[in-house]
């Protein structure tokens, strides 16, 4: 069963081409991640699906309803959470929830078992003004408000941006339980590590859908050797490696430098000796399995060249 169907959708603003002929299908009850850098077109796509803007060309369907024509019906079955916290700051947690419930023609009590999971965590603060909540609590309140009418499709635009690591983890936990209830979730994120938590991910860049796949498949598509290197002076090492190889083949990953070998097989020993000779006596090198982040950088590199 298909929940979201996007067919050759393009969106052109006055100057920029935000979406360029995008097609994607999301299955029912799936967590689909839209991954891409800022300005890739994630928000534009989500706003089209949320019936906030119209595509310049192409068509989009949600639960069999056309996003342009049947917007009234769609609005009853989707929950949308924009990237920016957009609830009433001067209303309390409880009042916000009640208000959005009433706008959807329902009550908090009616769907309480669905929101309970999340709302229970912020209920102790229900008298507090929404504007005075912490970032993580704001997200939970926003999600509660988006869920209050038991939507069939949940569209979340960068829900974990600006949220601490613990809250992010909790948030993804919640998404998993919502999925079990049969809710289709379309979520965008700039964090690569969250991609692995999705059922499928779409990599979007420059308004184009680069790749749509299971996170594990995306890793399998990485065919090169990958090394993690570290020395006492990573900056100098980075510079040195960039001069020796294609500059796109090296990336800094926290404490390590990842080196992608696109050429013939490379032995660690040879590489190590070479670097020691070049003034990196304490170099440590290991061959590693690529993470999803390596794959995305590799995919993005393919387009920017």
């Amino acid at each position: 069963m298909k929940s979201i169907i996007v067919k050759n959708v393009s969106k052109k603003y006055k100057q920029a081409q935000a979406l360029d002929n995008i097609s994607v299908v999301v299955e029912k009850g799936e967590i689909f991640g839209l991954i891409g850098p800022d300005g890739a077109g994630k928000t534009s796509l989500m706003r089209i699906l949320s019936t906030l803007i119209l595509p310049t060309s192409g068509e989009a369907y949600l639960e069999g309803l056309n996003c342009a024509r049947d917007y009234k019906k769609i609005r009853k079955i989707i929950g949308y959470m924009p990237g920016k916290f957009s609830l009433y700051h001067d209303l309390s947690v409880e009042e916000n929830l009640n208000f959005f419930a009433s706008v959807f023609g329902t009550t908090v009590r009616e769907n309480y078992d669905l929101v309970k999971l999340i709302y229970a965590q912020i209920e102790p603060f229900k008298k507090r003004r929404a504007g005075k909540l912490s970032g993580g609590m704001k997200q939970k309140l926003a999600l509660s408000c988006a869920l209050i009418h038991y939507p069939k499709v949940l569209i979340l635009d960068e829900p974990t941006t600006g949220v601490d690591a613990v809250s992010r983890k909790e948030f993804w936990q919640i998404l998993k339980t919502l999925k079990e209830r049969g809710i289709t979730i379309l979520v965008s994120t700039p964090y690569m590590d969250e991609a692995e938590l999705c059922d499928r991910v779409g990599l979007i860049q420059g308004g184009k859908m680069m790749s749509v796949n299971l996170p594990s498949e995306i890793i399998k598509e990485f065919h090169h050797e990958l090394f993690a290197l570290t020395s006492e002076n990573n900056y100098r090492l980075m510079k040195h490696l960039k001069e020796r190889t294609n500059p796109h083949d090296v990336q800094i990953f926290g404490q390590n430098i990842h080196l992608i070998n696109r050429k013939a097989k490379l032995s660690i020993e040879v590489l190590k000796q070479d670097l020691i000779n070049n003034g990196f006596p304490n170099i440590s090198i290991s061959k590693i399995q690529p993470g999803i982040e390596d794959c995305f950088i590799e995919l993005m590199r393919g387009t920017s060249d």
Binding site: S50, T51, L52, K72, R75, K76, I78, Y80, P82, K84, F85, S86, L87, Y88, H89, D90, L91, E95, F99, F100, S102, V103, F104, G105, C145
Partner: protein
């Protein structure tokens, strides 16, 4: 329908939460009413005057006395040198001086023409006009008396023919300035509330992003607009009522006309104002922008409305422009109902114009709103 009620409930909740807004809505306008009615008076009293008396006769004395006894004038000096009077005018010691020529009495008795020059500080041109008007009236009065006494000296039994002007001021018998001002200022207050609050409120939803959150709900645009307009309508009505009560009891304004009619027109007026505010909100994205634009329209509306200047004296093109000024209509209607007791047939044309104007502005706003959001 129930959804509209929820929006209205939410609006009132938010208004009651806003600690900065509440005093602005209720206290400020009332303070303005009390202060403005006293301060924004067009009457001028205690005008400092100097008299240059080159004649020093009984008759010139009598004329000087007239000024001394007038409530409008404060006789500062009687000088004999015109240059001294000029100096005083330049130094702002007096606002006006009159120059009584030599041989004033002689010429008067000989029934010759005498010219008295009046020099007014015309930095404030309207004041200058009023002052010269007052002076003219005093001199004419004096002239009449002198004429009568002169004539009656000569022919004791023959009364001279003279024209008496008998003035009577209708609808404001005592020419009470406050009667004129209170209804006018009430209109300003309602205008302020109507335009500013509605414009700012909707732009605020845009700024915070809540409007987008509402747009993905089944809440219709019509429901949203009605839910927004009703609370401000209620506040506007409340505001006007408080002001009217103050006018009635603190300033003893006679309310001659039908209150029912007055409130009926007020609702149409508020509706037009809210539409203006709503239109402004669709044209702007931040509260700052909206505030400045609203301010611009407020100034135009108020200054052209006839509150401070009679509409009849403004140029033709401005009068045409005033056809789209809701404040001008309501100011006129409001005064007519309160002071004159006009009934619907008297004001029908203006009420209809106001109503049509409101419908047009609202449609523009709805059109813009649908296009942008």
């Amino acid at each position: 329908m129930r959804k509209i009620l929820f929006i209205i409930q939410k609006e009132f909740l938010q208004i009651s939460r806003n600690r900065a807004m509440l005093p602005i809505i209720f206290a400020v306008p009332l303070i303005q009413l009390v202060i403005l009615v006293h301060a924004a008076t067009f009457e001028i009293k205690n005008i400092d005057i100097a008299v240059v008396d080159n004649d020093l006769s009984m008759m010139s004395n009598k004329l000087t006395d007239k000024f001394n006894h007038s409530a409008f004038f404060q006789l500062r000096n009687i000088v004999s040198d015109v240059n001294e009077a000029k100096r005083q005018l330049e130094m702002n010691e007096v606002e006006v001086f009159i120059n009584i020529p030599a041989n004033f009495e002689k010429k008067m008795i000989a029934q010759q023409k005498v010219e008295i020059s009046v020099v007014v500080d015309a930095v404030n041109s309207r004041n200058a006009g009023l002052i010269s008007g007052y002076i003219k009236e005093i001199i004419e009065n004096y002239n009449k008396e002198i004429f009568v006494s002169l004539v009656s000296d000569i022919t004791q039994n023959k009364k001279p023919a003279k024209i008496l002007t008998n003035k009577s001021y209708w609808y404001n018998t005592q020419l009470n300035y406050k009667n004129f001002m209170v209804p006018g200022i009430l209109v300003i207050l309602v205008t302020l509330i109507g335009v500013f609050l509605s414009a700012m409120n909707i732009v605020r939803e845009k700024e915070i992003g809540t409007i987008e959150q509402l747009n993905v709900t089944p809440l219709g645009k019509f429901q949203f607009i009605i839910g927004k307009l009703v609370p401000f309508m209620v506040i506007g009505l409340l505001e006007f009522s408080i002001g009217l009560l103050i006018g009635k009891f603190a300033f003893q304004i006679p309310i001659v006309g039908s209150l029912f009619l007055l409130y009926g027109v007020l609702i149409i007026f508020l509706f037009t104002l809210l539409a203006v505010g709503f239109l402004i909100s669709t044209l702007n994205n931040t509260q700052q922008q909206a505030l400045l634009v609203a301010y611009f329209f407020m100034m135009l509306f108020l200054l052209m409305s006839g509150l401070f200047t009679p509409i009849d004296s403004i140029p033709e093109w401005a009068r045409i422009l005033n056809k789209i000024n809701p404040v001008a209509y309501f100011l006129k209607i409001n005064r007519m109902i309160i002071l004159k007791g006009s009934v619907l047939t008297d004001i029908f044309k203006d009420v209809m114009s106001l109503f049509v104007l409101g419908i047009i502005i609202l449609n523009l706003a709805v059109f813009r709103y649908k296009k942008t959001v």
